[in-house]
Amino acid sequence: MLDQSYYQMTDEIIGRYGKAPASLIPILQDIQEEYRYLPGELLTYVAGEIGVKEAKAYSVATFYENFSFEQKGKYVIKVCDGTACHVRKSAPVLEALLKELGLSKKKHTTDDMLFTVETVSCLGACGLAPTLMVNEEVHPTMTPEKAIELIQELRGESR
C-alpha cells in the first residue's frame, strides 16, 4: 500500500496537465520522474481520474520503454549503445559496470537499491562517444576504468 502522499503528489501532477485522455503519457512521465518508477496503484488511480480504461492505461504504459513498474536505484546509469558509442567501444564499458555491480542483462538493480544499469540508444553527445548518463548528467569519453571510478565516487557520495 502506498501512503497518502503518493496520491497527493499524483493529484498535483494531474493538475499540471488536466483530466483528459491525452494527458495520460505526460502524467505517467512525471510520476515516473518523481519516484523513478511507476507504482501500479498510481497507474490505476490516474486512469480513473482522467477517464481512460485501466486496461488501456496499462497497454500504453507497457508499450513505452521508459516506463518501469519496478523500483529503480538511486543512481540510474544509462550506458549509451547508439551507433557512435558502439563503434567507439561502449560494450566493454557496460560489461565493466555490470561486473563491478554484480548485475546482469536480466538483473538491472543492485540489492541495496543504489544503482540501476540500463542501455540507451543515444544521448545526443555522440561527438564524445562512448557516453553514459547518471540520472540526468552525461559523462563523456568513458572507458571501463573510468566507469568503475565513477561507481566508487557515487558510492562515496551516498555514504
Binding site: E65, N66, G82, A84, V87, S121, C122, L128, A129
Partner: protein, 631 residues
C-alpha cells in the same frame, strides 16, 4: 515587454541590437549537450564569477549607456553547439574586430583568458585549435567550421540560446514579421513550395507540397507538429537545433501555422533530450509573455499556441502516424495509409508534420526568398543538410553543408580524415534505416536522389565513419538488434522477419554460421522490405543488404574461416602467447578461470584455444605484453 505591434517589436529589436553592439567583448561558452558533459557549466559560472569580481568590468549595461573609457563592457553567454564537440569545453571570445576560438578550456584557464584575451589583446596560444602543428585563431579559420554553410545552425555558437532578445538582435522573427504584414498565407506556402525544400527527417518529401495539401483541406481545425524524436541512434543534429536555437525552430513552426491556418502546434521531443525540452519550454514562456505566442500575435488576426510532448523511448514514434498517436495518449503504433497525415493527422485533423531541421530552415527562406535558397545545394535537393559526424574520425561534431557535397569533402576536408591515421573502410549513413557507403562512393554527391542509387539514404543525417577496426558483420548485427527491439510488433513481416534475421546474424558473429545463411538473409531481407507496414520495417533490412553487397568477403570469412579481420567478434578471437616475450612467470595460468593455460615455470606457457573462453583475464594481467589476439 508586450510586443503587440510591428512598431513595438522593431523598437525592441533596435534596443537589443544596440545592447549587442555596446559590449566590447562577449565570452561565449558552448552549452550544447556535448560541452556540458565536459563541464562547460562550471566554466560559465567561473567566468561569471570572475567578471563580477574584476574591477573595471561592467556586465550589466543598458544599451544607451554613455561609454566610460575605463570600463570594459563584457557579457558572458551560453550558446548552442559550437561544432567541434570532441574538443570541449569550447569558449569563444568575440570582440569588435576578432573572434578567438578556445578549446578544452579548464577552470584554471579562465583567469588567464580574462586577463589576456578579454582585458588585453593577447591570445592564449595553448588553448587554440591545432592541427598538424598549426594553430588556428578564429572559428572561421578552422577548416572544420570554415567549409560549412550554415542556415539551420546559423546562430548556434554565436548567440545566447536562452535569450529572445539576442535572437531578435540577430535578425530573428524577421520572417514572421514579414509574413504577417506583407504576405498572405498562400504567398508563404508558395515561397516554401518554390524553394524546393525537402523534408530533412529522412523521407525528403517536398515541404511546400505538404503544406499545400493541408491548406486545401475542407476541415478548418488544423495542426502543426514538429518531429523532434530524432530516433537515429548516433545522430544529434535536431537536438542541437532544439537546444541551440529554439526560437528559430518556433519561428519556422509559426510560419507553417500562418501558412496553413493552424491554431495549435506540438513539438514531440525525444525522451533523452532533457536540455532540448528545457530550452524549448523557456523559449515558449518568453514568447508567451511577450505576446509572440497566443492570441492576436503582433496585433494581427493570427493566433497560435504551442505545446511540448516528450517521447517515452520508442523509436517507432518517429514515424508520423505513430507520433500523432502518441501525442493523443495512445500506444505509438503506425497505422495503414491512406488517409495520410495531411488529411487526417493529429486528432483526425489535417496536420503539417515536419522535422526540426525542416522548420529551422523556413525563416531564412521567407526572409531571403526561394531563389536565394535554390542557389544553394543541387537542382533536385536545394539547400543545406546538417550531419553529425561521428565514429572513427579525427573531428567529430556537428556540421551543415550544401546538399551535393561529397563524402570525400565531408570526411577528409571537414572531418580531418580517419582517426589516428587509420584506413577508411565505410561510412554508415541514415542509421538503422540506411546503408553503408565505401571508398568507391567517396565522390558521390550527397543529395536525396544520388545516394538512393547506391542502396543508402541521406536519412536524417547521421554519418558514422568506420575504419579497419570495425567489423561490418557485427555492425549489421548491431542495427538489426536495434530495429528488432524497436519493432512495434503490429505486422508480422517486421516482427518475425527481423527476429529471424537477427538470429542468423548472431549465429554468424558467434562463428556458427553456415554458407546458406547468406542467401537466407537476402531472401528474408527482401521479404521484410517489401511487406512491412511502415518505414521501420521497410528499411530495417537495408544495413544488412548493403553490407552484404559491399562486404560479402567479410561474411564469408566469418562463416568459412571463422575469422573476424577487425578482431571485434569475440567468439572468433584466438588468444595466443608470443614465446619471444613470454618469461614463463605463470601469472596467466593462475588468472585463467577455466584452466586453459598450461606450461613450465621460467620456460613458456601455452593456451588451449578449445578451452579458452576469451575473457581477456590473461591479456589484462600479463606484465610482458606476451599475449596477443589472432583474428
Amino acid at each position: 515587454m508586450m510586443m503587440d505591434s510591428k512598431e513595438k517589436i522593431l523598437a525592441v529589436r533596435e534596443e537589443e541590437i544596440q545592447k549587442l553592439n555596446a559590449s566590447d567583448c562577449r565570452i561565449l561558452v558552448c552549452s550544447g549537450t556535448g560541452c556540458i558533459a565536459t563541464g562547460s557549466h562550471k566554466i560559465y559560472e567561473k567566468f561569471m564569477e570572475l567578471v563580477q569580481d574584476t574591477p573595471g568590468i561592467e556586465i550589466e549595461f543598458a544599451p544607451h549607456d554613455s561609454h566610460d573609457e575605463k570600463e570594459e563592457k563584457v557579457s558572458v553567454k551560453k550558446t548552442g553547439c559550437q561544432g567541434v564537440c570532441e574538443l570541449g569545453p569550447l569558449v569563444r571570445i568575440q570582440k569588435k574586430d576578432k573572434v578567438i576560438q578556445y578549446t578544452k578550456v579548464q577552470i584554471e584557464d579562465c583567469q588567464e583568458i580574462l586577463e589576456r584575451s578579454v582585458l588585453e589583446d593577447e591570445v592564449v596560444e595553448r588553448l587554440l585549435y591545432k592541427k598538424k602543428g598549426k594553430a588556428y585563431l578564429g572559428p572561421d579559420d578552422i577548416p572544420f567550421i570554415a567549409k560549412q554553410t550554415r542556415i539551420a545552425l546559423k546562430n548556434c555558437g554565436k548567440f545566447d540560446a536562452e535569450s529572445m532578445g539576442e535572437y531578435l538582435a540577430s535578425g530573428g522573427f524577421g520572417a514572421i514579421i514579414k509574413a504577417l504584414y506583407e504576405m498572405t498565407p498562400e504567398e508563404v506556402v508558395d515561397a516554401v513550395d518554390k524553394s524546393g525544400i525537402r523534408g530533412r527527417g529522412g523521407g525528403g518529401f517536398p515541404a511546400g507540397r505538404k503544406w499545400k495539401q493541408v491548406a486545401r483541406q475542407p476541415e478548418k481545425i488544423r495542426y502543426v507538429v514538429c518531429n523532434g524524436d530524432e530516433g537515429d541512434p548516433g545522430a544529434f543534429m535536431d537536438g542541437s537545433v532544439m537546444e541551440g536555437d529554439p526560437f528559430r525552430l518556433i519561428e519556422g513552426m509559426m510560419l507553417a501555422a500562418y501558412a496553413v491556418s493552424a491554431q495549435n502546434g506540438y513539438i514531440y521531443v525525444r525522451a533523452e533530450y532533457p536540455m532540448s525540452v528545457a530550452r524549448l519550454k523557456h523559449a515558449i514562456a518568453c514568447m508567451e509573455e511577450a505576446g509572440l505566442l497566443g492570441d492576436h500575435i503582433l496585433g494581427t488576426d493570427f493566433s497560435f499556441q504551442l505545446h511540448i510532448n516528450r517521447g517515452a523511448g520508442a523509436f517507432v514514434c518517429g514515424e508520423g502516424s505513430a507520433l500523432t498517436a502518441s501525442i493523443e495518449g495512445n500506444r505509438g503504433m503506425p497505422r495503414v495509409k491512406p488517409p495520410r497525415t495531411v488529411e487526417k493527422g493529429l486528432w483526425e485533423k489535417p496536420t503539417v508534420l515536419n522535422n526540426v531541421e525542416t522548420f529551422a530552415n523556413i525563416p531564412e527562406i521567407i526572409l531571403n526568398g526561394p531563389d536565394w535558397y535554390r542557389g544553394i545545394g543541387t537542382e533536385s535537393s536545394p539547400g543545406t543538410k546538417t550531419f553529425s559526424l561521428t565514429g572513427a574520425i579525427e573531428n567529430t561534431g556537428l556540421i551543415e553543408v550544401p546538399m551535393g557535397t561529397t563524402l570525400r569533402e565531408i570526411i577528409f576536408d571537414i572531418g580531418g580524415g580517419v582517426k589516428e591515421g587509420g584506413t577508411f573502410k565505410a561510412v554508415q549513413i541514415g542509421g538503422p534505416s540506411g546503408g553503408c557507403l565505401t571508398e568507391k562512393h567517396l565522390d558521390v554527391p550527397l543529395d536525396f536522389d544520388s545516394v538512393k542509387k547506391y542502396g543508402a539514404i541521406v536519412g536524417s543525417g547521421g554519418l558514422v565513419v568506420m575504419d579497419e577496426h570495425t567489423c561490418m558483420v557485427e555492425v549489421a548485427r548491431f542495427f538489426m538488434s536495434f530495429t528488432q527491439r524497436e519493432s512495434c510488433g503490429k505486422c508480422v513481416p517486421c516482427r518475425e522477419g527481423t527476429k529471424r534475421m537477427l538470429e542468423i546474424l548472431e549465429k554468424i558473429v558467434a562463428g556458427e554460421g553456415e554458407i546458406e545463411d547468406i542467401d537466407r538473409l537476402k531472401e528474408l531481407g527482401e521479404m521484410v522490405k517489401s511487406m512491412a507496414l511502415c518505414g521501420l520495417g521497410k528499411s530495417a533490412p537495408l544495413p544488412v543488404l548493403s553490407t552484404l553487397r559491399e562486404f560479402m568477403d567479410e561474411y564469408v570469412e566469418h562463416i568459412q574461416d571463422k575469422k573476424c579481420r577487425a578482431k571485434v567478434c569475440q567468439s572468433l578471437r584466438r588468444f595466443m602467447i608470443n614465446p619471444e616475450f613470454c618469461k614463463g612467470c605463470g601469472k596467466c595460468a593462475k588468472n585463467c578461470p577455466v584452466g586453459a593455460i598450461t606450461g613450465v615455470r621460467k620456460e613458456f606457457y601455452h593456451i588451449d584455444t578449445s578451452i579458452c573462453i576469451k575473457c581477456n583475464a590473461c591479456k589484462d594481467n600479463c606484465a610482458f605484453d606476451a599475449i596477443y589476439i589472432e583474428a
